[in-house]
C-alpha cells in the first residue's frame, strides 16, 4: 500500500505489471524508461537470467515532482511471467497499489493470459487483496502481430467488469503511456479518497 511520509512530505506508490511470460511487461518499463527524462526517473533495475528473462523483477522508479507540497513517487515493478516463478510473483505483488495486466493478443497465447489472470487474482487474495477492489487496467499487447484475437473478443472473455483497457504495441509505445496514465489516475484518486488503508 502507498506510504505517506509527512516528515519528508513524500508519497510512495507501487504499480505492478503482471501477465504471462513474454507478454511484454519488461518492454513496457523499457519504453517508459526511454520516454521519461532522467530527472524524473531512477535507474531501470532488472533481475534477469542470462537470456534476459525476468528472474525476480524489473524496477523503474518514477518521480512526478512536488504536487501540493508532496513529492510524489511511483515504483513500477514487473513480475516474472513464467509459471514456475509464482513464489517471486507473490512477493512482488505485496503492497501493490495498482496492477497493469499485460496480455499477449495472439490467439495461441489466450490460455496463458487466462491462467495468468487467474493466478493474479489468487496471489492477491493471499495478500488479503481483491483485484476487483483495486486500481486495475489491461494492455492488449502485440496488436501489430498477425493472428491476434479481436479486442472485442478479448474484452468479452477476459474483462467482464470492463476495466480500462488499451490496445498496445509495447515496442513502439502505443498504449503504454495511456495504460500507465490510467492506472496512475486510479491509484491517486483512491489515495485521495481513502488514504493509506
Amino acid at each position: 500500500m502507498a506510504t505517506i511520509n509527512y516528515g519528508y512530505r513524500e508519497i510512495n506508490c507501487k504499480i505492478v505489471y503482471y501477465g504471462p511470460g513474454m507478454s511484454g511487461k519488461t518492454t513496457n518499463l523499457e519504453t517508459i524508461h526511454k520516454k521519461v527524462p532522467p530527472t524524473n526517473r531512477g535507474k531501470l533495475t532488472s533481475l534477469a537470467t542470462k537470456t534476459d528473462r525476468t528472474l525476480f523483477f524489473d524496477l523503474l522508479p518514477l518521480d512526478l515532482g512536488t504536487i501540493k507540497g508532496f513529492k510524489v513517487k511511483f515504483q513500477l515493478y514487473t513480475v516474472p511471467g513464467q509459471v514456475y516463478y509464482n513464489a517471486t510473483r507473490k512477493l512482488v505483488l505485496r503492497g501493490a497499489d495498482g496492477v497493469v495486466f499485460i496480455a499477449d493478443s495472439q490467439k495461441d497465447r489466450y490460455d496463458d493470459n487466462v491462467e495468468s489472470l487467474e493466478n493474479l487474482r489468487e496471489n492477491l487474495k493471499e495478500h488479503g487483496m481483491d483485484l476487483d477492489a483495486m486500481p486495475f487496467v489491461i494492455g492488449w499487447n502485440k496488436r501489430d502481430l498477425p493472428d491476434v484475437m479481436s479486442v472485442e473478443e478479448l474484452n468479452a472473455k477476459m474483462n467482464p467488469r470492463g476495466v480500462p483497457n488499451f490496445e498496445m504495441e509495447a515496442l513502439t509505445g502505443r498504449g503504454v503511456f495511456e495504460a500507465l496514465r490510467a492506472v496512475t489516475r486510479m491509484v491517486l484518486e483512491k489515495l485521495e479518497k481513502e488514504g493509506t488503508r
Binding site: 500500500m1 502507498a2 506510504t3 505517506i4 511520509n5 509527512y6 516528515g7 519528508y8 508519497i11 510512495n12 507501487k14 520516454k35 521519461v36 527524462p37 524524473n40 531512477g42 535507474k43 533495475t45 533481475l47 525476480f56 523483477f57 524496477l59 522508479p61 518514477l62 512526478l64 515532482g65 504536487i67 501540493k68 507540497g69 508532496f70 510524489v72 513517487k73 515504483q75 513464489a87 517471486t88 512477493l91 512482488v92 505485496r94 503492497g95 503511456f177 495511456e178 500507465l180 496514465r181 496512475t184 489516475r185 491517486l188 484518486e189 489515495l191 485521495e192 479518497k193 481513502e194 488514504g195 493509506t196 488503508r197
Partner: protein, 162 residues
C-alpha cells in the same frame, strides 16, 4: 506505517532520523537505510557512496522477503536478520518486526558482532516509533481536492504529452 502501508508524521521522522544518525555513529557503520516491507525507502543516514537508495532499498526488501519464504520452507516462522560478507563492505539486514527493514552497510574493519548489538537496540527504538495509527494513518489524503488531477498533469509533462 505498518505492513499494510500507512503514514509517518514529521515528529516520528525526526525521532527516526535522530535514532539512525546515532546508530551510524555508535556502531561505526558507513550507511543505514530504513525501508518499508513494500520496498519504499523511509529514511537514510550516513554516506551513500555509489548507492542509489531507492533501487537499493527495493532490492534489499525483495531479498529479505525471499529469505522469509526460505524460512517458511525450513520450518522456521521467520528470519529476523541476515548478514552478507563482501570483500570491502558487509551488509547486515534486520527486521523491525513486520513494520520495516533496517539495512546496515559497514566496512570490513567494523566488527559484525558490534553492529548486531547496536542494530538490535536501534530496531527496538525504531519499532517503538512505528506504531500504526500514531503516525496519522488517515482516511483520505489531507492535501485538498484536485490532488490526482495535478499529479496527472505532472505525469503528462513527464511523458511529454500522450
Amino acid at each position: 506505517m505498518n505492513k499494510q502501508g500507512g503514514s509517518l508524521s514529521a515528529e516520528q521522522m525526526q525521532t527516526i532520523e535522530s535514532v539512525l544518525a546515532g546508530y551510524v555513529k555508535d556502531a561505526g557503520i558507513r550507511t543505514v537505510l530504513l525501508v518499508d516491507p513494500d520496498g519504499h525507502l523511509v529514511c537514510q543516514s550516513g554516506a551513500m557512496d555509489t548507492i542509489d537508495p531507492v533501487s537499493f532499498g527495493a532490492l534489499v526488501s525483495a531479498n529479505f522477503a525471499s529469505t522469509q519464504q526460505i524460512a517458511g520452507q525450513m520450518g522456521e516462522k521467520e528470519f529476523n536478520a541476515f548478514y552478507i560478507q563482501g570483500k570491502e563492505k558487509d551488509l547486515y539486514v534486520s527486521a523491525v518486526e513486520d513494520k520495516a527493514i533496517l539495512v546496515s552497510i559497514f566496512a570490513r574493519g567494523t566488527t559484525v558482532g558490534m553492529v548486531k548489538i547496536f542494530a538490535e537496540k536501534t530496531v527496538k527504538e525504531i519499532s517503538a516509533n512505528l506504531v500504526p495509527g500514531e503516525g496519522g494513518d488517515q482516511k483520505g489524503l489531507s492535501v485538498g481536492g484536485g490532488f490526482a488531477d495535478s499529479a496527472l498533469a505532472e505525469l503528462d509533462k513527464v511523458l511529454g504529452g500522450i
